[in-house]
Symmetry: C2
Subunit: 245 residues, 2 copies
């Protein structure tokens, strides 16, 4: 399983993913799930994936190889797409390409199913930062000011705190804190989501990544957050009024 989170904020983007991949209970490995396209000067594009690892890796292959987008005649790559919508289309086309090759067998009765979902965020000069959630069918939705975050994978454990505390106007540093709390709740409740984490921070109009940090057991800040949050929750719980009935 996987847990990935993308947050679209006025100040920029925060994306966070775990790195646990499993194919059955005794085949657990660590794979980075965050990809960054940051070479071109006018753009930074980030993608986190959840689902079948073989599909994710193939999708990245076809994205890098370039594909012809709907209504166009030449191949597009992350370096050539004109906006984030086209970048999402490119990932969608790559998913459909992999589906044409692997879909039938994966969807057969003895297969594991064709499952992938992607968070694609970033900015291309000329437009504001954008964040998309791309489905297995290759279609996608975009985050808005009203709904400024998307989750993929094991989403439920970490959702309540986002619903309470996240808004488009939250500062980037606060969004990092919030993402780590959401991830911590998931790590505690689901063994198949695991460290290290990949955390990326993109500031609006920077057009390059401000931070790409790997967070493991030894990370001092994540340890502080985990302990502080745990004791804050216990204290908050203890301070709640007792039943009046």
């Amino acid at each position: 399983m996987t847990y990935c989170l993308g947050m679209l904020l006025r100040e920029g983007l925060v994306m966070l993913s775990d790195s646990r991949t499993n194919a059955g209970i005794d085949q657990i490995s660590t794979f980075r799930k965050m990809r960054v396209w940051d070479e071109a000067e006018d753009r930074t594009i980030l993608m986190a994936t959840s689902g079948n690892l073989a599909i994710s890796q193939s999708v990245v292959h076809y994205v890098n190889d370039g594909l012809v987008l709907p209504g166009q005649e030449t191949r597009s790559t992350m370096a050539s797409v004109r906006n984030l919508f086209e970048a999402a289309q490119l990932v969608g086309e790559a998913i459909r390409t992999v589906h044409r090759i692997d879909g039938e067998r994966l969807e057969a009765k003895d297969g594991s199913g064709f499952s992938i979902s992607c968070l694609l965020g970033g900015q291309i000069a000329g437009e504001a930062p954008r964040l998309f959630l791309i489905y297995s069918a290759g279609n996608f939705i975009e985050a808005t000011v009203e709904t400024p975050y998307f989750q993929i994978g094991e989403t439920k454990y970490g959702k309540p705190i986002l619903d309470r505390a996240l808004s488009y106007d939250l500062a980037l540093t606060q969004a990092i804190k919030l993402g780590l709390i959401s991830m911590d709740s998931t790590l505690r409740s689901n063994l198949s989501v695991g460290l290290p984490l990949d955390l990326v921070l993109y500031r609006t109009d920077a057009l390059h990544l401000e931070m790409h940090r790997k967070i493991d057991e030894t990370d001092p800040y994540f340890s502080i957050i985990r302990h502080q949050w745990s004791s804050s929750l216990k204290n908050a719980f203890a301070a709640l009024s007792d039943p009046v009935w």
Copy 2:
């Protein structure tokens, strides 16, 4: 969908269920999911159910009608079972009885599947309070001091706070608070779980219910808990250390 929670504590049992039942997005109704068998002087037995409502209601019918348990010759009912294990067996037999009647069509390709799970808790004189989780197959597991709670239905949103704060030695009043917080997180994140709630409180060796309370939007204590918890979380979040990187 449904969310039900059962907690086994040194001081007794707390069980909590919502009352939303839906068969499609526009057929949403309210049904109590908590059953209480409290007539006999030497026992109190509680059951909360999740899953197909037609199955749940049929299971209760067969439990009340009585069934012959494995290795026995006469019918047992909740009034005659000798211990909670037999009570769980009785529910399991009722589930299998309904499966023999309805299972084939429900499990057919156009059916909705045969799904039910039950939390069964209570005490029969001569043993300590016990809590069981009964599956669709009619088999079951029992809560222990190390794992003193079970959830059924939409379990994930409300699990992180239980994993942090629940222990067998928690006082009954605190367990009520905790259950309401867990339920509140679920209500906020999943529209298909809804008020009113059924809350039952059983104190060890009482052999009758101490409280059976219906909690709706107007309940003053639940409102307090919801508001206090929400602001406590926001304050705890604001007080957390900012990133040190």
